[in-house]
């Protein structure tokens, strides 16, 4: 293994768990998350192995790639999956009903996450999984800080509302 690959190994070891964590909560599927996690790192190695990036930049790039990989994956494999634009649509979602029996509060919450618009889901996960700053999230998503703040507020409010509709008590 070359010197560059040693560095990539360090990056992999340092970030794999958090990226996997993000992807699991993002997709709500262990197998898909594992696959996307590997894709994310392979893409990172392919593109950035010759660059000397800071730890912070590396982390941010990894999340950016992880998110894009997930979006692309979703496009490819769920051709008809539409993102509900408002809360009224949530109640009629049969997908959620099917998962209703899940006992685990966390699992139920992760499935609620899937009902958020993509940007809202990404913001709330980046904020909580990695505790990234709004500035960092804005950079990863290519949005302004105020857009990210609004998305975070909307994501939180939406999640609370969905959770309430589904009888999830914190």
């Amino acid at each position: 293994m070359q010197e560059k690959d040693k560095k990539m190994e360090e990056i992999y070891i340092r970030n794999q768990k958090n990226i996997y964590d993000f992807l699991y909560k993002y997709t709500n599927n262990y197998d898909i998350a594992m696959e996307l996690m590997q894709d994310t790192f392979l893409k990172f190695f392919e593109n950035y192995r010759y660059l000397n990036l800071s730890e912070e930049k590396t982390t941010m790039l990894l999340y950016s790639i992880a998110r894009n990989t997930s979006i692309n994956f979703a496009k490819k494999f769920s051709t008809k999956k539409e993102i509900p634009s408002d809360l009224d649509n949530f109640t009629s979602s049969s997908k959620l009903e099917a998962k209703e029996e899940m006992k685990d509060l966390e699992e139920r919450l992760y499935s609620c996450l899937q009902l958020l618009p993509e940007e809202q889901k990404t913001v709330i996960l980046l904020r909580n999984v990695e505790e990234l700053t709004l500035i960092q999230i804005a950079e990863i998503m290519g949005l302004s800080i105020s857009s990210v703040s609004r998305l975070l507020v909307k994501a939180t409010a939406n999640l609370l509302e969905i959770a309430e509709q589904k009888g999830i008590k914190f």
Partner: protein
């Protein structure tokens, strides 16, 4: 700023805002804190996460996949090319200077974007005294960028190339006849991005490195020459959209075969292992290239961006989905804006634009 964020928020959202950003307590505080606690709780993977070595091996296997495909013409295209260069570069460059100087320079090339340190040398190695926006390039001029620098050159047929930092290219051919055009760019080192308009069958745009010729009939691609200590001449080509024909060069700089030996289509990467080596091909995903474009931006602040393009304002474009793009509009037609942001060049459908405003740079 906070008033801006709060605009049009519902009652619940305002309360959430108060808890998240103003540290206030209300009926939602406890729920929000529990919600965030659950979301930040690390999950335990149900499958073993592969070791780096396992991941690394799977990558090596992917690279062995070789496949040939039919070439599709007149499609949009983005590709990147990475090559490590040894001696061949310089000798070949000199050879070509003499052979191509016979051409009539009827097509013009001028600088349309500039940031950092950019030098232009003519065929005799003489440095041009002044380089700035609008500087015209002559055939066989060599353009060199320093650290954190980039330069964009636009041809009279609107084709564009942008040279990234620490890079060097020469304009080999620059000709325009009644029914055809020919442009050839020799990338000595570094990276360049080229945006090529839809071409006629008789138009010919080529990017060459010491080991390969990439013939283009599309719109956009990226080329990188990455001198690596101790490496042999290797070239990597990545295509995002459309197709590129790759022809190997002999040590004398001539095409090894009359027709391209490898046709790369969307989302494919070819790795060329230097003179006499084979070209292997593998498939990659689309956003990898987008990532690459985003990562190769050399401008750090909006001010640099505006100054580099000779503007004093930054355009703020709000899209339907509330995405806000900030940057400088490079071009537009009736359907699209092309905007240069700090995260790279983005093409925006005009129908999706809700509003746009100009902000003076700070």
């Amino acid at each position: 700023m906070s008033e801006d964020i709060k605009k049009d928020l519902s009652e619940i959202e305002l309360k959430v805002y108060a808890v998240l950003f103003e540290g206030k307590q209300n009926e939602y505080s406890d729920e929000i804190h529990s919600l965030n606690a659950i979301l930040s709780k690390k999950i335990i993977p149900k499958r073993k996460i592969p070791t780096f070595q396992e991941l690394y091996n799977s990558r090596e296997e992917n690279q062995k996949i070789i496949e040939m495909r039919k070439k599709t013409m007149n499609k949009k295209l983005i590709f990147s090319l990475v090559a490590a260069i040894l001696i061949a570069g310089i000798t070949f460059a000199i050879k070509n200077f003499s052979s191509s100087s016979v051409e009539q320079p009827t097509m013009q090339a001028k600088i349309t974007f500039l940031t950092g340190e950019v030098k232009i040398k003519d065929a005799s190695g003489q440095e041009k005294p002044k380089v700035g926006l609008g500087t015209m390039l002559d055939p066989n001029d060599t353009v060199i960028t320093g650290n954190r620098s980039s330069v964009e050159v636009e041809f009279s047929d609107k084709n564009k190339i942008r040279l990234k930092s620490n890079s060097e290219f020469s304009l080999k051919k620059l000709s325009l006849a009644a029914d055809s055009s020919e442009q050839e760019v020799f990338l000595q080192r570094g990276m360049l991005v080229a945006e090529i308009k839809k071409q006629k069958q008789t138009d010919n745009f080529k990017v060459t490195t010491p080991t390969v010729i990439a013939g283009v009939r599309g719109t956009k691609f990226q080329v990188e020459v990455n001198p690596q200590k101790g490496a042999t001449e290797t070239t990597k080509v990545t295509v995002s959209e459309g197709s590129v024909g790759i022809t190997k060069r002999t040590k004398e700089g001539l095409p090894e075969t009359p027709e391209p030996v490898q046709i790369l289509e969307a989302s494919e990467v070819a790795i060329e292992k230097g003179f006499g080596g084979e070209i292997s091909k593998l498939k990659v995903s689309e956003e990898k290239i987008n990532q690459e474009f985003a990562a190769t931006n050399d401008v750090e602040s909006e001010k640099d961006l505006a100054v580099a393009l000779g503007r004093s304002e930054i355009e703020k474009i709000t899209l339907e989905d509330k995405t806000v793009l900030r940057g400088v509009i490079l071009e537009m037609d009736e359907n699209f804006f092309v905007i240069q942001t700090l995260n790279g060049i983005i093409k925006v459908d005009k129908e999706k634009v809700v509003s746009s405003e100009l902000e003076p740079i700070k």
